[in-house]
Structure formats: structure tokens, C-alpha cells
């Protein structure tokens, strides 16, 4: 059951180039949220649609989101200041399903933030032995949340497209290397479409259950308008699922991936 909330911002920060974090106060959200769920945030009077942003972290009654400025909506968000109010629908979507003992998180760019909450929630569960995070960024200037992941995970590895931090290359290269050296029960992935497609192929190859958090343009955000479709298959039948309500997290095998 999503809430329609008006929340007061307590903190804002420009955490990296074009990337911002906003912390706001909402017991309701902080209590109910599951990693991988998102919020649908109204971004001012001039924009007709809300913007979907994942929950990155919670701390008592506080909720944190981290986002990259892409267009008018995220630009508006980036200009908010402590004391301003946010009009929020949430928590929305299904979130990650935490299973197994050794968890691997893999995130790219703007897909990194929700994995932090996944790491923290996993670490708090008794059954988990290890939580490994593989994070990819285009360059060192775009790298975010490194300290938080280091604190929450058993191990963290970084890849950058230009080699300015961590391994030079794609985060999916790190993934192959890791899977060759250790057995994982579950992969949780969030990031650009092509990254998710490759992660999904690799997970198949190594036969590890993999959940991917998909992105699609949204209208209502709650499952009513059918604009946010993602093609999925189950029992051999293809259909359009709703990223907002059936997702955003899907089993990687469920998703019908487009050609590269």
C-alpha cells in the first residue's frame, strides 16, 4: 500500500559531478521500505509527470535518495534546500528478494544507490555470510557512496570506464572475474540496460539466480496506466509487465532482452 506523503527535507548535498543526495523525514517510508523499491516524486508545478527515484538508504525516520541530474525533473530536485517539502508517492514496486548466504550486488552509474540499501538490509539478516558489491562508474568524478558501501559490505570493487579509479573497464568484467573465484547464491543488479543484459547473460552462464532492477518511463507509478512496460516471459508466453508494479525488480530470466 503506497502512501501519498509530503515530506520535509533535512539535508541536501552535491555528492559528485551532477549527483545529489536528498535526505528527508518520513517514519512511514523508513519503516516500510524494502531495498529496490522506489518513490515517485513530484518535481514542481511545471512538470506533468512525477520522477521515479530509488530509495538509497534509511536511518531511523530519515530516508535518503541519490540521483543524477539528467533533465528538468532531476534539475528541479537538485535545487531543493533543507526545509523544502517533497510531494512523494511510495514506497512503490516490489523490491529485491533477499535469498541465499553469499550475495553479489552489481551496479552501474545511477543504478548504484538502491544497492546500498540492499547491502544494509542483507547484512542485517542472520543468514547472510557475505555481501560483495561491484560498482561501475564512468570516471572517478562520478564515483559515489564508496564509504557507505565499504561499511555495509564484506568487500567492494570498483571499475571505471577510463581507469581513473579501480579497474579500467566495465563492471561486468569484474563480475566474470569474481564469479570465477567465488560461489554466490544470488546476484542483484541495477544500472543501464546494456549492463543489465550482460549481467543477465553472465548469470545464466554461471547459473546463478539474478534479479535486475529495470527502468522505464512512467505515468502513474502505481500500476494503473500501463505505460511503463517491460517485455517478460513466463511459461514460454511473452507479455508486457509493469515496471512500476510488477517490477522494478525482475528475475533476469523473466526479462525478454532486446538485441544489443
Amino acid at each position: 500500500m503506497p502512501f501519498h506523503l509530503c515530506c520535509s527535507i533535512t539535508e541536501t548535498e552535491n555528492i559528485a559531478q551532477d549527483q545529489f543526495s536528498i535526505v528527508f523525514d518520513s517514519v512511514k517510508l523508513a519503516d516500510f521500505v524494502k531495498a529496490g523499491q522506489f518513490l515517485h516524486i513530484a518535481c514542481g508545478d511545471a512538470l506533468t509527470l512525477r520522477r521515479p527515484i530509488s530509495i538509497c538508504d534509511t536511518d531511523k525516520s530519515l530516508v535518503k535518495v541519490v540521483f543524477t541530474v539528467k533533465g528538468a525533473g532531476t534539475r528541479w530536485l537538485s535545487l531543493r534546500k533543507p526545509g523544502d517539502m517533497l510531494d512523494i508517492l511510495g514506497p512503490l514496486g516490489n523490491g529485491f528478494d533477499m535469498k541465499g548466504e553469499n550475495l553479489l550486488l552489481i551496479g552501474g552509474g545511477a543504478g548504484v544507490p538502491p544497492l546500498l540499501l540492499a547491502a544494509r538490509q542483507a547484512a542485517a539478516l542472520p543468514q547472510f555470510e557475505s555481501v560483495t558489491a561491484l560498482l561501475g562508474f564512468s570516471d572517478i568524478g562520478k564515483a559515489i557512496l564508496l564509504g557507505d558501501f565499504a561499511a555495509a559490505c564484506t568487500s567492494v570493487e570498483i571499475a571505471t570506464d577510463d581507469g581513473s579509479l579501480g579497474r579500467h573497464g566495465f563492471v561486468t568484467d569484474l563480475l566474470k572475474y569474481r564469479l570465477n573465484t567465488k560461489r554466490f547464491d544470488q546476484i542483484l543488479a541495477c544500472g543501464p540496460y546494456n549492463m543489465l543484459r550482460i549481467v543477465s547473460e553472465i548469470a545464466d552462464e554461471y547459473d546463478i539466480p539474478c534479479q535486475v532492477s529495470m527502468e522505464e518511463r512512467m505515468g502513474c507509478g502505481i500500476g494503473a496506466c500501463l505505460t511503463c512496460s517491460c517485455k517478460t516471459k513466463s511459461a514460454g508466453k511473452e507479455k508486457y509487465s509493469r515496471v512500476c508494479a510488477d517490477g522494478p525488480v525482475f528475475s533476469s530470466r523473466e526479462v525478454v532482452w532486446n538485441e544489443a
Binding site: 505515468g219 502513474c220 494503473a224 496506466c225 500501463l226 505505460t227 512496460s229
Partner: protein, 303 residues
């Protein structure tokens, strides 16, 4: 004194004039977690086709200045499954159910009307969807084909038939008149206006369907003009929609001649938009000391 918000629309009594627009409200379930659907005058359900349809490939939605483009393309379970799995839930609420139907042939419209005509309160015959090739809009752009569909549905329907008109025409009043002459009990308008958005980084349309239907506040002045033109041309009642976002917008629509209004895109910005609009209507009537909607409906005094 509380104003009387009830509306007798083509013989069907609506407890208030606020409905939600087809395709923006699914089959009601999702919005029912925000408020009691019995608060609504009526619900126009997601557009139905005879057989279920998968809809168009994504992306299906794009934002434009004070509007959105959509190209959902009738993703729906089909009439039978709707009646079996969705309708029972909707029936639990004290509100009018309006089934929105689209066909590829006149026969399809007729068969769907036959099936639904016992099950819901009003049939909304959609001859105006810009998002699928055959069916829909092809019927809505000429008076003859609009009349043909209307006539076929009227022959079998035991409930009032409301025809949903497209704004993508030169002369909407002539099409409205043709539907009235063919027996339509009511009209609804406007459906979306065909539009396009281009991603200049990729040089490709934002929507996978290339074009989509424009809705939201941007189209409101066009919708008001068309509702006014249609209401001036026909005697049957009209459900006005297209960009209605506030109670004031609804009042404009009533002045233009609408008997009911429908809220679409505004639901996305605010899930409770229909209730706020209802309250806005109420507040206006109280402030203006008008006992009922009859005092404003069609009362636009033109120059």
C-alpha cells in the same frame, strides 16, 4: 446548503459529475488504495478490445510542456476476462461503471456491446484512439463511419451508448451530429491529440510507436472549445475531458456544456485529483450560491 451534485446523464443517475478517464485509471484497483472509489461519480475503465491485446512496445509515455504523450495501444485482457476478473471488484463500489470499447470492425463493436450491455452502466464507444492502426480513430474521423459504429452498437445495447470523439478532425461538430442522428445517447470528448517527441541525442522518436496521443493541461483550451462546439450542435449530454486538473477547469467545462467531466492525466500528478476537483466544484457552487450544476451547465454567455 449543500449543492446538489447529482447528474442525470442519459437516464443514468450519477451521484456527482466527476469520473475518471479511460486508460488512466486501469480497472480501479490501484487507486482504491488511496481513497474509496465510491466517492467518484463514475469510472471509465481501461479501453477494452474483443480479444486481449499486448499493447505497443515501450517506451509508451513521454512528457511534453504541460502534457504527456502516450502510446499504450490497448493493452487489456479482452472483454471476457474483464467481466470475469476485473468487474466484480469494481462492482463493490457505489459508483457508475463505464466500459470503454474499441474494435477493428463494426461487427466487433457490436459483439462487445452485446456482452457488456448487462454488466455495466454505460458503454463508451471509443472511435478515437490514435495509437492503433486499424480500429479506433479510423471510425472517428468521418461522420459516416462514426454513425455506422454508433448504429450497430445501439441496435444491441440495452444500456446508454456514449460515443467518444477524437479531436483530430476538421469539424468535430459534424461528427457529433452524425453520432446523435445515429442514436447515440451521449458523447464524450476529447480523446488525445496526435503528437510526437523526438530524442535529439539519438535522432529517434521518444515513443517506440513514433507518435502518441497528447493529453494533460496543454490540451485543455482545445478541449473546452470542442466541448462547446459539440454542445452547441447536439442535444444529447456530453462528458467533457482533456486536461482537467482543478475544480476551476471542471467549472469551465460545465459552462461549455458538459454534464459530466472525466479526469485522466491529472491522476498521475495527484492520485486524489478527482476528489480535489469534486471539492472544487462544490466550493464554487457554494461560493456562487448555486443550488445545482444546472445553474451553470451550458450557461456560457458568448459575445
Amino acid at each position: 446548503m449543500k449543492p446538489d451534485l447529482t447528474v442525470n446523464f442519459a437516464g443514468v443517475c450519477f451521484k456527482n459529475p466527476v469520473t475518471v478517464a479511460s486508460g488512466t485509471f486501469g480497472f480501479g484497483k490501484e487507486y482504491s488504495s488511496f481513497y474509496d472509489l465510491s466517492e467518484l461519480g463514475g469510472i471509465c475503465v481501461k479501453g477494452l478490445t474483443e480479444k486481449g491485446r499486448d499493447g505497443n512496445p515501450p517506451p509508451r509515455i513521454a512528457e511534453t510542456p504541460m502534457g504527456i504523450l502516450n502510446s499504450v495501444g490497448f493493452q487489456n485482457p479482452g472483454v471476457d476476462l474483464f467481466m470475469e476478473t476485473e468487474l466484480p471488484f469494481l462492482k463493490r463500489f457505489d459508483t457508475r461503471i463505464i466500459a470503454n470499447i474499441s474494435g477493428n470492425t463494426v461487427e466487433e463493436y457490436r459483439r462487445m456491446a452485446e456482452k457488456l450491455s448487462d454488466a455495466v452502466d454505460i458503454l463508451e464507444v471509443n472511435i478515437s484512439c490514435p495509437n492503433i492502426k486499424s480500429g479506433g480513430i479510423a471510425f472517428g474521423t468521418s461522420p459516416e463511419s462514426a454513425a455506422a459504429v454508433t448504429h450497430a452498437v445501439k441496435q444491441v445495447s440495452k444500456i446508454p451508448v456514449m460515443v467518444k470523439l477524437t479531436p483530430n478532425v476538421t469539424d468535430i461538430a459534424s461528427i457529433a451530429k452524425a453520432c446523435e442522428d445515429a442514436g447515440a445517447d451521449a458523447l464524450s470528448l476529447i480523446n488525445t491529440i496526435l503528437g510526437m517527441k523526438i530524442n535529439i541525442e539519438t535522432g529517434r522518436p521518444v515513443l517506440r510507436n513514433n507518435t502518441g496521443g497528447l493529453s494533460g493541461p496543454a490540451v485543455f483550451p482545445i478541449a473546452v472549445r470542442m466541448v462547446w462546439q459539440v454542445c452547441s450542435a447536439v442535444k444529447i449530454p456530453v462528458m467533457g475531458m482533456g486536461g482537467i486538473t482543478t475544480g476551476e477547469d471542471a467549472i469551465e467545462m460545465f459552462f461549455a456544456g458538459a454534464s459530466l467531466i472525466s479526469v485522466g492525466t491529472a491522476n498521475f500528478g495527484d492520485p486524489k485529483a478527482p476528489l480535489k476537483i469534486k471539492k472544487g466544484i462544490d466550493d464554487y457552487l457554494i461560493r456562487k450560491n448555486k443550488p445545482s450544476l444546472d445553474c451553470i451547465r451550458g450557461r456560457l454567455e458568448t459575445y
